[in-house]
């Protein structure tokens, strides 16, 4: 099993550009999450999903959107990139909301 796979690993965006961070998992987990991690800080929850077709906001959802059309995929969309969105983004999945398995992260810089 590959676990949780995120693409791309690195990306530089200009202010106002848009992009989609991809996340896929092959563990058949119902629960999936997006976190962001700023330097020297813990992870903050952006959005989460408890199953296909269901998404909900986390602690810091502003400026992001998600969709969950399949169990495997949970893409995160940035519509108008801002410097404040410079961060490392982690996707995670879990079974019934317990131990979460994380991807390797996407390092995003907005200039």
């Amino acid at each position: 099993n590959a676990g949780v796979t995120q693409t791309p690993k690195f990306r530089i965006l200009k202010i106002g550009q848009s992009m989609t961070l991809q996340c896929t998992q092959d563990m058949n987990h119902n629960y999936m999450y997006w976190y962001r991690q700023d330097p020297g800080m813990g992870l903050k929850l952006i959005y989460y999903s408890v199953g296909a077709g269901i998404t909900d906001k986390g602690e810091v959802p502003n400026g992001y959107n998600v969709s969950r059309s399949t169990t495997e995929d949970f893409p995160l969309r940035l519509e108008l990139a801002a410097p404040s969105q410079t961060s490392v983004y982690f996707c995670a999945s879990s079974y019934r909301g317990s131990e979460a398995f994380f991807g390797q992260g996407t390092r995003l810089t907005v200039v």
């Binding site: 949780v4 989460y48 909301g97 131990e99 390797q104 992260g105």
Partner: protein, 116 residues
């Protein structure tokens, strides 16, 4: 503000000694806690978890202690090795009444440095 935090940003220990990393949480309704290890450039990796109906749980070389009275969590690593060098995060999960995910709330992390 943060509902989960750590007492020290950096902990330096001698190789072979035991390490103790502490964490305080503020939400008494939290019922599930996890310790994660994050190496440089990688995603968090699960170490050990504990539910609120327990006060101690042991894994391989690691022990988690939960004191609900003072809302304190600790991670003990026995015989610390160079490979233990990483940032350690505690995280809590407040489950909804329907058993939903809600996501984990993370503390800032403690950087464990191993001295040779």
């Amino acid at each position: 503000g943060e509902s989960v935090g750590l007492h020290l940003p950096t902990l330096s220990v001698q190789e072979g000694d035991n390490s103790i990393i502490n964490c305080a949480y503020s939400n008494s309704a939290s019922d599930y806690f996890i310790w994660y290890k994050q190496e440089s450039g990688k995603g968090p990796q699960f170490i050990i978890d504990i539910r609120s109906n327990m006060d101690k749980r042991q894994g391989q070389r690691v022990t988690v202690l939960l004191n609900k009275t003072v809302k304190h969590l600790s991670l003990q690593i026995a015989a610390t090795q160079p490979g233990d060098s990483a940032v350690y995060f505690c995280a809590e999960n407040l489950r909804s009444s329907g058993g939903g995910a809600d996501g984990l709330t993370f503390g800032k992390g403690t950087h464990l440095i191993i001295q040779p």
